[in-house]
Structures are given as structure tokens and as C-alpha cells.
């Protein structure tokens, strides 16, 4: 039986453009947290995520019913993200030390958002821990799916996640107590 996402994508493929809203709703968290660790910049990741959906719409006929619809979208996102990384590496004018680059934290996040816990995680966790936390808690992926994505043993993912939350809790309590 087709999943809700697959039904939406098939509907989109058949010309019902309104289904793109459902596709976005069902996958945007997963797509964004998938792109962010690759790009490491909130703004760039946002651009690529939006482009992902436009590309998905434009190339909807390339989706084959019966295949994994989320993987199809993630493949588009991954290709766009990797192309962007490649492009950035080529462009010597891109200065990662400029004022737009992250001064604190693993990723260059959008600090104007009211996301204090995520901002704290960005500051106190290591990159490997942060990506797992974001994929699991924000992206909604299962530990096993994250393990496949990151090519890590399942146990490593679960223990890193567990350890990251303990670290985050400690930092949260410290920050809270200091205030």
C-alpha cells in the first residue's frame, strides 16, 4: 500500500500541483537536516532545500512509482548539496573566514530564529553528535536510517545520540544556572 508521501508524489506526477504542499510538509524537516551537515550553513542549506522541491517538481516524471519516494527527494537534495560544496571549493573568492562565517558552533546557523536549544547544541556538541541529534530530533529519522545515511553502526548512532543529549542537558543546566 502506498505511503502518504508516495500518494502525494504520484498525485504530483499526475499533474495535481497542490500535492507539492503535502510533499513539502512530509519531507522538509528530513530534507533540511539532511542537507545542513553537508553544507554547514543555514542560509545555503535553505536555498538548496527550496531548489530541491522546485527540481522535484520539474523532474517529477523521473520518479518511478513503487520506489522509495523519500530517497528520491533526498537524492535530488544530495546532488544539489554536493554540487554546491564543489562549487564553493572552486570559488576562491568564497571566504569562510568572513563575517558571514560561523564564529561559534559547528554550523553557521540563523541566530535570529528563536531556537535556543538547537543553538546550544550547535555550540557544545561535536559535529558528528550534532548531525545525529538534528537528524533524529528535528529531521524525524530513525536511528537505523541515520546509521545508513552516515555509514555508521546502529549502536554507534544510538550511543552518540544518547551521549549528545547528556552533554546537552549538562550544558543547558549550566547555562540555566548561570542565569
Amino acid at each position: 500500500m502506498a505511503s502518504e508521501l508516495e500518494r502525494a508524489i504520484i498525485g504530483l506526477r499526475e499533474g495535481d500541483v497542490n500535492q507539492l504542499a503535502a510533499v513539502y510538509k512530509l519531507t522538509s524537516k528530513g530534507v533540511f537536516t539532511f542537507i545542513l551537515p553537508i553544507i554547514k550553513s543555514y542560509d545555503l542549506a535553505e536555498d538548496i532545500m527550496q531548489t530541491t522541491y522546485v527540481k522535484a517538481y520539474e523532474n517529477i516524471t523521473s520518479y518511478e512509482p513503487g520506489t522509495n519516494p523519500r530517497n528520491w527527494i533526498l537524492t535530488i537534495a544530495k546532488n544539489l548539496a554536493l554540487a554546491e560544496v564543489k562549487k564553493r571549493k572552486r570559488e576562491t573568492s568564497y571566504d569562510f573566514t568572513d563575517e558571514n562565517a560561523s564564529l561559534e558552533g559547528v554550523y553557521d546557523l540563523n541566530t535570529s530564529l528563536n531556537t535556543p536549544t538547537i543553538d546550544l547544541a550547535n555550540r557544545v556538541l561535536k559535529e558528528g553528535e550534532l548531525s545525529i541529534v538534528l537528524l533524529y530530533a528535528i529531521g524525524g529519522y530513525k536511528h537505523r536510517e541515520i546509521a545508513e545515511m552516515l555509514a555508521l553502526p546502529l549502536g554507534t548512532v544510538t550511543s552518540k545520540y544518547n551521549g549528545a543529549l547528556k552533554k546537552l542537558r549538562a550544558a543547558y543546566e549550566k547555562e540555566y544556572e548561570e542565569k
Binding site: 507539492l20 522538509s28 527550496q50 536511528h143 546502529l154
Partner: protein, 410 residues
């Protein structure tokens, strides 16, 4: 953890790819170790993270929203049947118009506006020429944007006007045509014929780029950039396009979605430009042999607030615009041209308004007043009803400045 438990865990992890998470979880719990078990404090942190997800993950941008939220064009016909529309006039639509120039004619029966009534069409007028689909796209996007921009700036005001019949000619005229003035300026300015330059895109995600250059009555130049992709539809001679429109290097872009096709041997271009989820303008352009006509629907908060059509013609080497609003049996029609008075540019309008049994005819002269100190400009409208008293009204002017607080000057 005891050594034997660690060994079991190690073995399980090694075999993890053949054990489902559920089974693994049961095994972990069976041996008294649950790596996913978090303390209450850590659960709170996890809950906080999940709670921030909605804020953290970007919302769909305009381009995605325009695709995702756009109402199927097939539904337009039904929407237009709503009686409330009718009187609506105004507004927004115009923009689209542009789309323009494409084609002429058509629209019969699509909008409530009576497109078969050509009584205002000058016998020696010819359709405004559009050279290519790309030019049509760009002009359509530009005009649509002007209407949308007006609605955006005037948000919260009584923007889209529905004539109720007991007002003066001036009140009706001002409210109906104000949203269109900037667009009209750019369409009829004698020295500012729209030019469209097409080239390969230099922006990621889009294959095509058009530079649209326009100018207003005072000669001020305006630049629009449109990036888009066009893909062939499943039916022959049908294409979809998705893009963005940037106006004068502003930070925000407008999403542009549309299609072009051939129906009943007529070229047809449909457009939608969105400001946000509920505020957008839909245009429909049909190219015929004798005229170029556009129909516009303006939506605010998801409701249609205005419905109009525009016909573009060329007469005596000058572009003239016929703007029509129709609702049920009520009709307003404005025939608009450029005129120079004492060396100053003016918009010259003849109007015919029929609301119920009352018919009003008259003339409107619109000039531009510039404050030499601030540089700000205003429209000065002088409405001259046949057999009635002259009325004067000043209306804010400025690209993207909306209606700018008009005021009567009697």
C-alpha cells in the same frame, strides 16, 4: 554493564543490519540495557529540540509555495462564476496583464468581463505587438507584479473596490483605476517602451534569464529581472514555466508560475504571481487576430477581490489601454492614452460607467506633481463628469509605494 552483556551488545551491533530496530530494542531491554533510554531531564531536552523544529526548518519559499499552493487554473472558470466578483473592480489584476501582450483576444466567457463588447475599440487601432513568448512572459510578470505590489503595500486598506453606485464619479474612478496607474504609466509612456532582453541564466536553478527595462512617464528607468525554467508538458504545444521576478534589485523575489498552450487555435498564457499563501494575482492572456487582451483575478486572503480585463492597442503610433471591470450587469470601462499638455506628460482617460440603471460618462486627466524638495511625486487626477462638477484628487505615486494615501482636493 557486565562483560557478558557487552559481548551480547557487540554481537548484536555487528548483526544489526539483519535485526530490526524493534527486535533490537527488545533484546536490549531483555538484558537490562537500553541505549535509547534517556533520563527525564534528557527527555525534556529532546522535547525542547522537537519543539524548535517548526521554527528551525525553513518554510516553503515563494517559488515552492507558488507551485504547491496555486489553484488549478481549470478551477478559474468556476471561481469566476461567483456573483460577488462582479462588481469588483479594481485592482490588482492589472498586473498581469502584461503578460501580455501576447495575445489578443480571447478570453471570451472566461472572465465575467464582456469581451465581445468592442464598442470602445477604435476602428484604426491595431493590437500591441509582442515578439515572442519570452517577451510575453516577462511583460506579463512585470504587470502582474505591479498589481500585486500595490496590494502588498496597501494591505489593510480598503484596496479592492466594489462600486456601490451612490458615490460621485470621482470616488468611483479613483478607487477603480488607482491600482493600475503605475502599470498604465509603464505601458503607455511614449519614451519608455518595454524592452526585453533574453539570455542564459546566471542564477543557479534557472536556465533562462530575461531583463525587462521599462520607464515611467517622467523617464525614470525601472529594471526587472526574471529567471525561470520552461518545461514541455505532456500534451503537445503545452509548456509550464516556473521562475522568480526581481524588481529593482530588491531582496525579495516574487514567484512566477504559469503555462502556455494552444487552445482552439489561439495562443493562451496563464500566470500566477504570489505574494504569500493567500495573496496572489492570476492572469490569463489570449492572443487573437485583432487585439491583445488580458484577464486578471486578484486574491487577498484566498478570496477574489477584483476581476478585470485589459486590452492593449496601438493607435496613431501610441499605445492605448482599455481597462474594463464587469460584474453582473454593471460595467466600468476606461480608455486610456498618453497625452502631452504644455510639454508635460499626462494620462488621458475617457470613462463609461454603468451601475444599475445609472450611466456615467466623463473624462479624467492625470498629471504627475513632483515635490522639488523631497523628490516625492503624486498623481493629480481631475475628473470631469459629463454634466457634472469637476473633482480633483491626489494619489500617492512611487514604485512599490502602493496607493500612498490619496486625498480629495475639491
Amino acid at each position: 554493564m557486565k562483560r557478558n552483556e557487552k559481548l551480547i551488545l557487540k554481537k548484536l551491533r555487528r548483526e544489526g543490519d539483519i535485526i530490526t530496530p524493534d527486535v533490537l530494542s527488545k533484546v536490549y531491554k531483555a538484558i537490562g540495557v537500553d541505549p535509547t533510554l534517556l533520563s527525564n531531564a534528557e527527555r525534556v531536552i529532546e522535547k525542547r529540540l522537537r519543539g524548535e523544529a517548526k521554527t528551525f526548518v525553513p518554510k516553503a519559499n515563494e517559488a515552492v509555495m507558488a507551485i504547491a499552493g496555486k489553484k488549478p487554473f481549470a478551477g478559474l472558470r468556476a471561481l469566476m462564476q461567483k456573483p460577488r466578483f462582479v462588481s469588483a473592480m479594481a485592482t490588482g489584476m492589472a498586473a498581469i496583464i502584461l503578460t501580455v501582450t501576447l495575445v489578443t483576444l480571447g478570453v471570451n466567457g472566461f472572465f465575467n468581463v464582456d469581451t465581445t463588447d468592442t464598442s470602445d475599440s477604435s476602428s484604426d487601432a491595431v493590437p500591441y505587438p509582442i515578439e515572442s513568448e519570452r517577451e510575453a512572459y516577462s511583460i506579463g510578470a512585470l504587470t502582474t507584479n505591479l498589481l500585486l505590489d500595490y496590494g502588498e503595500e496597501a494591505s489593510g486598506n480598503n484596496l479592492f473596490y466594489e462600486a456601490i453606485g451612490n458615490e460621485t464619479d470621482g470616488e468611483i474612478v479613483v478607487r477603480q483605476i488607482s491600482p493600475y496607474l503605475e502599470m498604465i504609466e509603464q505601458l503607455i509612456a511614449p519614451d519608455g517602451e518595454l524592452s526585453v532582453t533574453s539570455m542564459a541564466s546566471d542564477r543557479k536553478g534557472y536556465a533562462l534569464k530575461d531583463i525587462i527595462q521599462a520607464s515611467d512617464m517622467l523617464g525614470e528607468e525601472l529594471d526587472y529581472l526574471m529567471y525561470y525554467n520552461e518545461v514541455a508538458g505532456e500534451e503537445s504545444e503545452t509548456y509550464r514555466f516556473v521562475g522568480i521576478l526581481n524588481v529593482d534589485d530588491r531582496v525579495d523575489n516574487y514567484a512566477v508560475i504559469g503555462s502556455r498552450s494552444v487552445e482552439d487555435n489561439q495562443n493562451l498564457i496563464k500566470f500566477i504571481i504570489r505574494y504569500d499563501d493567500g495573496d496572489y494575482v492570476i492572469s490569463r492572456y489570449i492572443e487573437g487576430e485583432n487585439e491583445t487582451r488580458f484577464g486578471f483575478l486578484v486574491y487577498q486572503d484566498g478570496e477574489i477581490v477584483s476581476e478585470s480585463s485589459i486590452r492593449l492597442e496601438v493607435q496613431d503610433d501610441m499605445i492605448q489601454v482599455v481597462l474594463t471591470f464587469q460584474s453582473d450587469d454593471d460595467l466600468s470601462r476606461y480608455k486610456i492614452r498618453f497625452r502631452e499638455i504644455d510639454g508635460q506628460p499626462h494620462i488621458d482617460i475617457d470613462y463609461h460607467i454603468r451601475i444599475g440603471n445609472r450611466v456615467r460618462n466623463g473624462h479624467v486627466d492625470i498629471g504627475v506633481i513632483v515635490d522639488e524638495e523631497t523628490g516625492e511625486s503624486q498623481y493629480a487626477l481631475i475628473i470631469k463628469p459629463e454634466g457634472g462638477d469637476e473633482e480633483e484628487h491626489h494619489e500617492g505615486r512611487g514604485h512599490g509605494h502602493g496607493q500612498g494615501g490619496g486625498s480629495p482636493h475639491n
